[in-house]
């Protein structure tokens, strides 16, 4: 077996005196779906942003296929091409059509001719179920449709690793299902995924591994039935009790 696609080692990130990530170690192997859980403010988004090199790390390493991309000598713009990110708030470009949103990276960064980029993007939009909206602008789409476009955009340049940051948290409850179904399909296709989510039922079904993050530390990590079913740590149990109380654990 080859090495992990993503390897995070001793990652530290502070905002001022606030140590948001406090020595995180995490591996994601090919075809693996790893789910990050943890209370709001525990550092899930920060971890994903550090992995995508959107934040400068204060210590530790981010290795992509064995290469230390957190090294300042590595061109972050190039390293990011191996990753696709979907954000909580979709972050589509409002001044571009859906099609241009999806083809942008292929055309501008990867030099794919427009015609081919659009053909591939249309096929991709068809697959995520918004093929008929290709010419529309994002503000004409529902939240669920926008998020599916954002997923198509992240997939367009065939990333090695997909980073999903609470991609259903900004959606109306009835729209959550359509986006989770799509992620389930991606997982079934063997995509390598690291995702933060509050959807515990989904995590139970789809995750190969669940990691519990608490105040910037990875407290517990293992198969979903263990971490979500019989957690070893008191902090994990407390967190899950709160989730159950909020009606989020199916």
């Amino acid at each position: 077996m080859s090495g992990p696609v993503l390897s995070v080692r001793g990652l530290v990130k502070s905002y001022g005196a606030d140590r948001v990530l406090d020595g995180v170690d995490l591996d994601v192997h090919e075809h693996e779906v790893v789910v990050l859980i943890g209370a709001s403010g525990s550092g899930k988004s920060t971890l994903l942003r550090c992995v995508d090199l959107l934040e400068e790390v204060d210590d530790g390493q981010v290795l992509l296929d064995g290469q230390d991309v957190s090294d300042p000598r590595v061109d972050a713009d190039v390293a990011r091409r191996a990753m696709g990110v979907v954000f909580q708030q979709f972050n589509l470009f409002p001044h571009l059509s859906v099609l241009d949103n999806v083809t942008l990276a292929s055309r501008v960064v990867h030099g794919v001719p427009r015609e081919r980029a659009e053909r591939e993007a249309l096929a991709l939009l068809e697959r995520v179920g918004v093929g008929d909206k290709a010419r529309a602008h994002p503000d004409r789409l529902s939240g669920g449709q926008q998020q599916r476009v954002a997923i198509a955009r992240a997939l367009a340049h065939e990333p090695r690793l997909l980073l999903l940051d609470e991609i259903t948290s900004a959606l109306d409850p009835e729209l959550v299902g359509e986006v989770l179904t799509l992620v389930r399909e991606l997982a079934a296709q063997g995509r390598t995924i690291l995702m933060a989510t509050h959807e515990m039922g989904f995590a139970k079904q789809v995750a190969d591994r669940v990691c519990f993050l608490d105040r910037g530390r990875l407290v517990e990590s293992g198969p979903p039935e263990q971490v979500l079913g019989e957690p070893e740590h008191e902090r994990t149990r407390q967190f899950l009790r709160r989730i159950v109380a909020a009606g989020r654990l199916v």
Binding site: R49, L54, D77, R80, G84, N91, H95, V109, D139, A154
Partner: protein
């Protein structure tokens, strides 16, 4: 079909709005009449009318003033293009982060501080009379060119700030999305940030354009024969100020379409971004 209740409400609304319109109309007419009467019955009115509103002088000065205005229009177009390019460059430089760019940022900031604070008229004198005074070969001596340089220097500083406000109004999450796709800083600015920024500040840009339109008349202080200068010449030969009024009216007429366009764009922008 609508209910009787709604029909009655609509009738009430209609009669109320008819009354408001009538009141507005009457008060406007009364105000205009009073103003007109006050001015025309003032002891100095006959003289003022002769020296400011003389139709014959107006007709005679019109061709020369129009000729001058054509120069203003050409200066306006060329300056506006240069201002937009220069201002965009300065605004983009001011957004660069990191210690490497510190000197560039300081220069750009210094430029904006200097030319936003400097009164346009002083800038015109400095450029118009100071530059030629250096007697360097290759420097322009034409007052039109010198005046345009001064306008571009001052207005670029203003417009750069407008652009910068627009750039900063684009949410950081848009930058994160662009960078996550592998776009570098330059492409992120060009493809994602600037198009959104420009749309948002278009009304402010058009407003500055209207201001520039009339400030183009200030190049006359350097001796360029524009509309204002042409009016001065005509006044001097006829001992009458009417040509100035003619030039003023022409500037106003020139500004009206731009002002309406600015209104239209603002309304559309408000609709588009207000709803989102």
């Amino acid at each position: 079909m609508i209910s009787d209740l709604q029909r009655e409400r609509l009738a009430h609304r209609r009669s109320r709005s008819r009354r408001s319109t009538l009141i507005a109309l009457v008060s406007t007419v009364v105000f205009a009449a009073v103003a007109w009467f006050t001015v025309t019955s003032s002891p100095g009115w006959p003289r003022v009318r002769r020296s400011f509103f003389d139709l014959e002088t107006a007709r005679r000065s019109l061709p020369a003033v129009l000729d001058g205005l054509w120069l203003n229009v050409r200066v306006l177009v060329v300056c506006e293009v240069l201002i937009l390019v220069l201002a965009l460059g300065i605004a983009a430089l001011r957004t660069l982060r990191g210690p490497v760019w510190f000197p560039v940022r300081v220069l750009a900031t210094g430029y904006v501080d200097l030319f936003r604070g400097l009164p346009l008229i002083i800038c015109l004198y400095l450029v118009g009379f100071g530059l030629p005074g250096l007697r360097l070969t290759g420097l322009p001596r034409d007052p039109v060119v010198l005046g345009s340089i001064a306008l571009v220097l001052v207005y670029s500083a203003y417009v750069a700030e407008v652009f910068r406000a627009g750039i900063e109004s684009v949410h950081p999450s848009q930058l994160a999305a662009a960078r996550s796709l592998g776009l570098d800083h330059g492409r992120t600015m060009r493809i994602v940030v600037l198009p959104q920024a420009v749309r948002r500040v278009l009304p402010a840009l058009l407003n500055d354009f209207v201001a520039l339109q009339k400030d183009c008349g200030l190049i006359s202080v350097l001796g360029a024969v524009d509309a204002v200068r042409a009016a001065q010449i005509a006044s001097a030969s006829s001992y009458n100020f009417t040509p100035h009024v003619v030039a003023g009216l022409l500037f106003v007429l020139l500004a009206v379409p731009s002002a309406r366009l600015a209104d239209l764009v603002s309304r559309r922008a408000a609709r588009r971004w207000g709803a989102a």
